[in-house]
Amino acid sequence: MNIRRMIILGLFVAIAGVLHAVECWVPLPLPIPGVKLGLANIVALAVIELYGWRDALVISILRVFLGTLLAGVIFGPAFIMSFAGAVASTLAMAVGCKYLRSKLFSLVGISVIGALVHNIAQLSIAAVLVVSSGVFWFLPYLVLFSVPTGVVTGVGVTYFFRKLPQNIIL
């Protein structure tokens, strides 16, 4: 790994961590556990496209540590839920990018898949933590919510690539 690449990946961790933390501070007007904008997924998807899924997974895990530390909820239930959601959605988006991207979906579709998997993973962890399968009644509301957030994230990634100077990455 050369130094330039290391610096850029570090920068992505910092950006994603801050996005994650800021998102924790912004209360959404929906009383549903686990609902968030998923802005940090912009970084995850961008890194999958630029450097591949291994780096994206490492960045996602590091940003959960950094983001929950900054938001003051590290090692609580929110941490476990974010961790599961980040890992699951990064892997889902990586699979999506590899096998479905060119043929079927644009980045927006991949990002919606990521948001969906993120919510399902978080809700599964929530169900285990409170030992109640009734938590899954929130799933339709979360699915409905993951469509707009996934689209916003996907559009964000698309514009990021449009504005990205060609010579900065490598």
Binding site: G109, V112, L116, V130
Partner: protein, 126 residues
Amino acid sequence: MRLTLADKVLIGGLIVVAIIGIGWHVTLNSRFRGQTAEIYKDGRLIDSLVLRSNYRQVVRVGTETDYDIIESDNGRVRVVEADCPDQLCVRMGWINSAPAEIVCMPNRVVVKVVSKERSDIDEIAR
């Protein structure tokens, strides 16, 4: 910025599935009026409140520092106060019919409304 056909099918499909799910939840809710509210902590039933009109009951569950104060009033139940950081359980407000439930993730407390049908089945099972 253009969406492919698969994107549109995915987005449309998810919206339809979500709306069907929400509709199902809402219909179930309107059919089964709750009679009791069961309070679970860490998956164990620790208390239950009676849901009846003109009847009010308040309980406090948890420890000195991690607590939830739960109130039933006039056939409805809510979390009045909790010391969790996100306060989602408090913001969920009143619920009054099965299978609605309030979840307090940080304290791992679930408040579940149980209707008569459901508790009958439970009694037979016992």
